[in-house]
């Protein structure tokens, strides 16, 4: 019975010229967004690969110099580009594409695409995620607002129910009937995207992306199911198809345009985070660390440890030890500062996700950026991996200085190293986190999306049971 209802609903929709027009527009935008996203991703991948290779060449090709000078010479870590960037660019425009790594300081990411964007970019980008989050729900609303209200107005609801059709079967059939034409459009688009990734992405990237693509499909499926459920609920309770449409368009607008802005404002108030000013002050505090005090501290300790009275008698190079310990101290302070900054951003993100209880987009958008690896948590994961690498290689160079520089209290200007040492420091090799890790930080968003689904599974049959049979 449910299938018969779904089949008839789908047949009616497919015969409606308006469905084909609206679907064609959505499909063209979706495929267009995926294609431009793919081109953007490909170009970015090529640029990153080329830049990373060039950077490695610059590093290993350094002339002979003091190891600590090499630490200051620095090197870049390039954020990996995933094929899923073609679906959702998330925060990549704001989080930068590369990190400069050098001694004494942790740098924030550089080269943010948003800095180069024109004023028109403020209107938003056309991405596959934007089509899936805004346009497909609109299509669902247009397809389903008349599900029950239309039957009631047309006068078919009574004859239907007089045949012994249960209202639950009717609700299930309507939901399936709305899903079938959508699937007809979205499944080919998903297959096209997955095929493009399987064919053109490097195998290791494709293997990393596959579980994420599957989870992403599930998340969007749940989001669309929520919209189908809300549409059926409103259609069952509304006085007329017209009022159902108006209520649903209001919900769609509030979900897509008002809630995200409201959530951003509220999250900033609830979780103010670290201001740019406070961050700058924190950095200035680290930079103002007194090298004179540190020199006195290290000297006194070394003299005491070795039981000698002058630096000329110690077995190691005091400035090298001072550099090593200074790096430890500064890194600790910088890490604490960046942690406060990152905790602030993540706290705001959690508050915004809590808005998912009233607007499903606030639950879906963070899941989408998480699974495409374009959210702040992924940026932080990358930045922390780059920082671990930076600290490791800077301290390797400082240790080299401790091990080989002439003992005493003066800077050993004679000691230099060359290619052998540079090549001994492995290139930065970043392993992006798994899909499970990506979702791990978004339990709240997952819970709210689940809550919407469970709530609607209970509410729609209840509303359909109580809905009036005749127009009011």
């Amino acid at each position: 019975m449910t299938l018969a209802i779904a089949k008839k609903e789908a047949a009616e929709t497919l015969r409606d010229g308006r469905f084909w027009w609206t679907t064609a527009i959505v499909l063209i935008l979706l495929i267009g967004a995926l294609a431009t996203g793919w081109v953007h991703t490909e170009r970015l991948t090529a640029q990153h690969t080329e830049a990373a290779e060039a950077e490695r060449g610059v590093w290993t090709g350094q002339e002979e110099k003091n190891p600590h000078s090499a630490a200051h010479f620095g090197t870049y870590a390039f954020k990996p580009v995933t094929p899923l960037l073609a679906v959702d660019r998330g925060l990549t425009a704001y989080t930068g594409v590369a990190l400069f790594m050098e001694g004494h300081a942790i740098q924030d990411a550089r080269y943010r695409p948003a800095e180069d964007a024109s004023a028109a970019a403020r209107l938003g980008e056309l991405t596959a995620a934007a089509v899936l989050q805004w346009l497909v729900p609109l299509l669902i609303v247009l397809l389903t607002f008349g599900a029950f209200a239309g039957e009631r107005e047309r006068g078919t609801l009574r004859p239907l129910l007089s045949l012994g059709v249960s209202r639950q079967a009717l609700a299930a059939g309507k939901a399936l009937g709305a899903a079938a034409p959508l699937a007809l459009v979205l499944i080919p688009a998903a297959i096209l995207g997955a095929a493009a990734m399987a064919l053109f992405a490097p195998p290791e990237t494709a293997a990393w992306s596959l579980p994420r693509v599957a989870l992403l499909a599930l998340v969007y499926l749940a989001y669309f199911a929520v919209f189908v459920g809300v549409s059926l609920l409103v259609s069952a309770l509304a006085r007329s198809p017209r009022s159902a449409l108006l209520i649903l368009l209001g919900f769609w607008f509030a979900n897509g345009f008002i809630a995200p802005r409201l959530a951003a404002d509220v999250s900033e108030r609830v979780h103010p985070g670290l201001t740019a000013e406070a961050f700058a002050e924190g950095k200035a505090e680290v930079d103002a660390m007194s090298w004179e005090d540190r020199t006195v501290r290290v000297t006194e300790r070394l003299l005491a440890e070795e039981g000698v009275s002058t630096l000329d008698s110690i077995s190691v190079n005091m400035p090298a030890v001072r550099l090593y310990e200074g790096e430890q101290e500064e890194t600790e302070m910088y890490r604490a500062l960046f942690e406060r900054l990152a905790d602030g951003f993540e706290g705001q993100s959690r508050v915004a996700q809590a808005g998912g209880v009233i607007a499903p987009l606030l639950a879906v958008a963070p899941l989408s950026t998480a699974l495409t690896g374009t959210d702040y948590r992924h940026h932080r994961h990358f930045a922390e991996a780059a920082e671990t690498y930076r600290y490791g290689y800077v301290q390797t160079l400082n240790q080299n200085l401790i091990d080989h520089a002439a003992p005493g209290g003066s800077w050993d200007r004679e000691y230099v190293v060359g290619e052998e040492v540079w090549a001994g420091i492995p290139p930065f090799d970043y392993e992006a986190p798994s899909a499970g890790w990506a979702l791990g930080g978004h339990g709240l968003a997952l819970a709210f999306l689940g809550l919407w689904l469970v709530g609607l599974v209970l509410a729609v049959p209840a509303a359909v049971t109580r809905m009036p049979l005749d127009p009011r």
Binding site: M1, D16, L160
Partner: protein, 244 residues
């Protein structure tokens, strides 16, 4: 009378303080067309809704083929065919598709030839079978409804103002269809204002005023009675102010 197909036993329904149906007793056997006459608000549609199970009675019971409508909702619906005043079809589906869809929901899978046969028997012209129902007249839509009743092999028909808005020829044609369904053994309950058609079609007439069955006429008496005068008499009596 053999066992009634449609039976009301002390059937009562209230809407807040209004008594819409007051202990209605009614029994309609196979082959019988029972016309329920009455002004608007008399309780005719309420009676039909109670037989359909769309309303729960406040007293008494509605039975279809001996089964209580409230207790055996699905079984009683299987035995019924319902034609509202405006038979509504899905405008983007053809007449044949509409019939196929409604029959499928009643648990009957019809083949193309069977659909055509039932539509033929209901009097829908061949050329209209595969035309979208959005282009149908009320009479054509009713024929699809009758075809569904035939397809279901319905033991009882519930008709709510079926001839309202039909032109005389369509009205005659429809009455003929109803009569044929009754001749085939169906019990028909028809709520109507159409006194003219009642004489042609009905085997029994009940006058319902303010939820009460005031009078029943059948057989010879039906043909010899001035139905209009009888009907208006009951209505005026109900409207007359109560005097001490």
């Amino acid at each position: 009378m053999s066992n009634p197909i449609l039976e009301a036993r002390g059937l009562t329904k209230r809407f807040d303080a209004t008594l819409a149906l007051d202990a209605l007793d009614l029994a309609i056997g196979p082959g019988e067309v029972y016309a329920l006459l009455g002004p608007n608000g008399a309780g005719k549609t309420t009676t039909i809704n109670l037989f359909l199970g769309f309303l729960a009675p406040d007293g008494g019971a509605a039975l279809v083929d001996g089964l209580d409508v409230q207790a055996e909702a699905l079984e009683t619906k299987r035995r019924l065919a319902y034609l509202p005043e405006q038979v509504a079809l899905y405008p983007s589906l053809t007449g044949a598709e509409n019939l196929g869809y409604f029959a499928a929901l009643a648990g009957i899978a019809l083949k193309d030839a069977e659909r055509a046969d039932f539509l033929d028997r209901a009097g829908l012209q061949r050329e209209a079978h595969d035309r979208r129902a959005g282009t149908y007249s009320k009479g054509m839509r009713q024929k699809v409804g009758v075809a569904l009743a035939l397809a279901k092999g319905a033991k009882a028909l519930l008709l709510d103002e079926p001839t309202s808005g039909l032109d005389p020829s369509a009205s005659v044609e429809f009455s003929g269809l109803v009569r044929r369904l009754a001749d085939d053994g169906a019990a028909v309950l028809m709520a109507t204002h159409d006194l003219f058609r009642v004489k042609d079609t009905a085997s029994r007439v009940g006058v319902l005023v303010d939820g009460q069955l005031r009078e029943e006429i059948a057989g010879e008496a039906l043909q010899s009675t001035d139905l209009e005068a009888l009907y208006l008499g009951h209505v005026r009596e109900a409207e007359a102010p109560v005097t001490a």
